[in-house]
């Protein structure tokens, strides 16, 4: 009895103190919200792999809600499993492996050139090198298809075909173009990772070995390579998770010839096949994603010991290229051309041509930008007048804008609670759950959210087809980044500025308004702008969620490509890239964050 009285009294005290410090309440609310928004969808996805859903129950004749191993068997063991899962699975591994084989050596080579040699203009080169990562991954695919497209798909001919050379299928579609396009997008990662590793590697280490009589070969093998191993492994794992998470490229380049990777196979199963099978495939991507991150974390821990390397007096000696300077520069320029100028240039060029690839004066036009009618496309207007594009632009701005605000705000709250209640269970839980979306590939995350929100639950109606669902899913997917930066920023600030205000008699709201928010302004800005930029180019995450009314620019591009409206698709791509450039530059200006470092965090 006495114990209970005490407990009640303590509770009353806590309640009375609440207005002064509601951190705990905010913490509990956040925990509950994240459980509902992140944990529940993932569990719903798991459940969907063994329980019959509404759409499947009609086709397979088992009542909705029954537990079954049908989907697992169908995906992994049945006659169609080869087509549904195994082929896309092996193809995904193959493509990812091949991308590693191209992107990592390429990134490493340029990193070495920029960091460890006297290559002229290395600052500019290193800035340009990360541009391919800044622009959306599917940009390359869109550019590729504009050039190499052949008759196999309907619509306009590709540039090469118009110029008289009909590209064979293997060059136009499937594995090769996917590998090339993904590599072009991914190699800046390797470039950044190797660049950092090389930069923190003291030349004195090599020189010590040389003094001890080691040959160049021995030095490379015994000193340099082991020190680069962490960068190598990280690039490797990152490339895999990129390929696993990207939808646009395999969709644009693979669908026409039925060359599917896991993301497109999942999409297909969901759209035209069985949602249950889609859930199983989604779970596989989630599992792969989790193991990749786990491996990465394991290696990072393993190699933490190396970090002390760039200590005091580290010297970065640049090897002279000597006679190789010109060839190296030439090679670099060509690479920059292939990775940045040619794809973007092609995209821009095609939007001014009726028939891309036909270089006659009368073939050039502004119709695809400002035309009220377009002769070749019935009922379509140019970019600036096109209702579909304008609506998708508005949607994109609205969705990415709200999502980034929500995400930045949630991230800051998570940071606040985690730092204010250190060592508590609430903090540990928030840390982990807010990190969870990072482990889940975009398309798998979208599938999970669909599983959970597409049906009415309690007072909440089905959110499928609503803009709100897009905002929600996007802000949750980017939460890992925002909450991490929120935690870091709050930790940097520490508790003392707020405590000093408490002592001065400021209540919670006043402390937030006068002390915490002003001090977090900068972090909050980054926490909003980065998700905004990612959101503007997001495709994998939204492709399953967008519906005709809620089409975003990125999904509108795919519709245009499906219809064969090459120029409109390309104009839309150019539009997005333009927006992203402007956003990125203003973010650099506003926050002083470097694009290269900001994007190196693997959002």
């Amino acid at each position: 009895m006495k114990g209970q009285g005490m407990r009640i009294r303590r509770l009353v005290t806590e309640l009375r103190l609440l207005p002064y410090d509601p951190t705990k309440v905010i913490g509990f609310l956040l925990c509950a919200a994240l459980a509902y928004l992140i944990l529940a969808p993932v569990l719903a996805l798991l459940l969907d792999t063994v329980r019959v859903n509404l759409r499947d129950s009609a086709t397979i004749g088992i009542p909705t809600g029954t537990f079954t191993t049908y989907f697992l068997q169908r995906t992994f063991l049945s006659r169609v499993s080869e087509v549904l899962f195994w082929k896309p699975f092996w193809q995904t591994l193959f493509v990812a492996g091949a991308v590693c084989g191209i992107a990592i050596p390429m990134g490493a080579l340029f990193a070495w050139l920029v960091v460890r040699t006297d290559l002229p203009g290395s600052k500019l080169v290193s800035r340009l090198m990360v541009v391919p990562y800044m622009i959306p991954s599917w940009t390359f695919a869109v550019a590729w298809i504009s050039v190499f497209k052949n008759r196999r798909l309907g619509g306009l001919a590709g540039m090469l075909e118009t110029m008289g050379f009909v590209p064979p299928d293997w060059l136009a579609y499937g594995a090769l173009p996917i590998i090339v396009c993904e590599s072009l997008h991914v190699f800046p990662f390797a470039f950044l990772l190797f660049g950092n590793a090389l930069r923190s590697m003291d030349s004195q280490l090599e020189e010590s070995a040389r003094v001890l009589g080691a040959s160049s070969f021995t030095i490379s093998r015994r000193i340099v390579l082991p020190l680069l191993k962490p960068a190598l492994l990280s690039s490797f794992l990152l490339t895999f998770s990129r390929v696993l998470g990207s939808f646009g490229t395999p969709y644009i380049l693979g669908s026409g010839v039925k060359y599917y990777l896991l993301p497109t196979a999942l999409y297909n199963s969901y759209k035209v096949g069985s949602p249950g099978v889609a859930a199983v495939i989604a779970c596989v991507t989630v599992l792969m994603g989790v193991s990749l991150v786990a491996l990465d974390m394991f290696f990072v821990r393993e190699y933490r010991r190396f970090i002390t390397l760039g200590g005091k007096g580290a010297i970065l000696r640049k090897s002279p290229l000597g006679g190789l300077t010109l060839p190296a520069l030439f090679f670099t320029l060509i690479a920059l051309g292939i990775t940045v100028l040619i794809p973007l240039g092609t995209l821009v060029l095609t939007t001014f041509m009726h028939r891309p690839g036909l270089f006659t004066v009368e073939n050039f036009t502004l119709d695809y930008w400002i035309g009220a009618t377009i002769p070749a496309m019935v009922g379509q207007k140019g970019f600036f007048l096109n209702p579909d594009i304008l609506r998708s632009l508005k949607n994109s701005v609205w969705v990415a804008g709200s999502a980034s605000l929500l995400c930045g705000f949630l991230g800051m709250l998570v940071g606040y609670v985690v730092v204010r209640l250190p060592k508590s269970r609430v903090a540990a839980y928030l840390r982990q759950v807010s990190f969870l979306p990072y482990l889940v590939p975009s398309i798998g995350f979208a599938a999970a959210s669909l599983s959970f929100f597409a049906v009415p639950r309690g007072p909440i109606p089905s959110l499928y087809g609503s803009m709100f669902l897009l905002v929600l899913v996007m802000s949750l997917k980017y939460l890992p980044f925002a909450s991490r930066s929120g935690i870091t920023a709050m930790m940097q600030m520490g508790n003392e500025p707020e405590e000093a205000a408490r002592v001065c008699g400021a209540g919670w709201l006043r402390r937030m308004g006068r002390i915490v928010l002003p001090l977090q302004k900068h972090a909050l800005l980054t926490g909003v702008l980065l998700p905004l930029i990612s959101g503007m180019k997001e495709q994998s995450l939204v492709i399953m969620l967008a519906t005709p009314g809620t089409e975003l620019m990125t999904t509108q591009i795919l519709r245009f490509i499906d219809y064969g409206y090459t120029q409109l698709a390309n104009a839309t791509v150019v539009g997005i890239v333009g927006i992203i450039f402007i956003l990125t530059l203003s973010m650099e200006r506003l926050t002083g964050a470097n694009l290269a470092t900001g994007f190196a965090s693997r959002g």
Binding site: M6, R9, R10, V12, T13, R16, L17, Y20, D21, K423, G494, E496, P497, E499, A500, A501, R502, V503, C504, G505, A506, G507, R510, R514, I515, P518, L519
Partner: protein
């Protein structure tokens, strides 16, 4: 008037860390009390509990007889309502506000009108000699100036109780002395109650009216500084206060026990109870020949550390090193044999419980 009373205050972090253990302390109104102790002994925690930033696990806390916290009554007055001043070790100035804004924040929270606020800020800044810095941001101030602003910010609200957490530890030696003087002057003019946390014994000794020596979350002795220095209540206090530290010879240790036994004839009645004998470095005398004092002991001269005003001498006695402080330069070379001696009343005796034994 502001008397702070802590009764059986206890605070743990997690299952294993007892930061403050059954602490009892009465801080009289208008006194300047130093909380002195080694790092991690619970000083900051105690201060934060008094300010209300941490909630004790048990015990009671009073300010002028009014209950601030009580575990059993379920009472906890929030920080915002306690009206105390607290200066953090890191100053915690708000970097986005100017000096004047920092200082006037607390007044604003009390709803003081703008004009009055301006006047009060001016007044406080003048008191601390920083009125020329009004419009600067904290990042544009030196460490000492930041320190003054942090102090001004809390003094502005004219708190009856001012809590200071190692406020001078980030300053260089010269500034520290200057600020110490300043603090003492402020205390003499303002007459509020000050609780001052430090692990610097010199600071505690010079500033305070009372010193509370803390160790492992407990208060070992609470007395005026000279009392603590002259009559340390137990071995830990004796060892902690004084620099260079007191020399100890204990019954049980190997190297010192011979010396310890040589002391025994000096206090025949207590020989059984005494477990450790302590003597401060400045109470030991050095002579090149055996002196006539009741107690003396041979030692080997090791080395000398001149501080400018004094000479700290280290000597080898059996296998032990002991310290002496001399006011004059010794004329002895390393390795030479010397004799040390002292007077009986300068000895500090401690029993097996490490408690002080009052000499008869």
């Amino acid at each position: 008037m502001a008397e702070i009373v802590l009764k059986n205050i206890r605070k743990t972090f997690g299952p294993s860390v007892v930061a403050v253990d059954d602490l009892n302390l009465t801080i009289q109104s208008g006194s300047f009390v130093s909380l002195l102790g080694p790092s991690g002994c619970g000083k900051t925690t105690t201060l934060r509990m008094i300010a209300g930033l941490d909630t004790p696990d048990g015990g009671e806390l009073y300010l002028d007889g009014k209950l601030l916290f009580s575990e059993s009554e379920g009472c906890m007055v929030p920080t915002e309502k306690r009206g105390m001043g607290l200066v953090f070790q890191s100053y915690a100035l708000w970097p986005h506000m100017t000096v004047a804004q920092n200082v006037s924040f607390g007044l604003e929270m009390r709803g003081m009108p703008k004009e009055a606020r301006r006047k009060r800020v001016q007044e406080v800044l003048e008191l601390l000699h920083i009125d020329t810095l009004q419009n600067r941001y904290p990042s544009e101030l030196s460490g000492g100036q930041q320190q003054r602003v942090a102090l001004a910010r809390m003094l502005a609200i004219n708190p009856d109780v001012l809590l200071l957490d190692e406020p001078l530890s980030n300053l260089d030696a010269k500034l520290r002395l200057e600020m110490r003087t300043e603090l003492k002057r402020l205390h003499q003019t303002l007459k509020n109650t000050i609780l001052y946390v430090t692990h610097d014994q010199l600071e505690a000794m010079t500033l305070s009216t009372h010193v509370a020596v803390m160790h492992n979350g407990r208060i070992l002795q609470y007395a005026p500084p000279l009392t603590i220095y002259r009559f340390p209540a137990d071995l830990t206090v004796a060892a902690f206060v004084g620099s260079p530290p007191m020399n100890f010879f204990s019954r049980s240790e190997n190297e010192g026990s011979d010396v310890f036994r040589s002391f025994l004839p000096l206090f025949p009645g207590l020989a059984e109870r005494v477990h450790t004998v302590g003597v401060r470095p400045e109470d030991l005398y050095l002579s090149p020949t055996p002196p006539l004092d009741p107690w003396s002991y041979p030692a080997i001269f090791e080395t000398v550390l001149p501080t400018g005003s004094d000479w700290i001498v280290s000597l080898r006695v059996h296998k032990r090193t002991i310290f002496l402080v001399l006011r004059e330069e010794p004329r002895i070379k390393p390795g030479e044999q010397v004799w040390i001696s002292t007077r009986t009343e300068k000895l500090h005796l401690f029993d097996t419980q490490q408690k002080r034994i009052e000499s008869p």
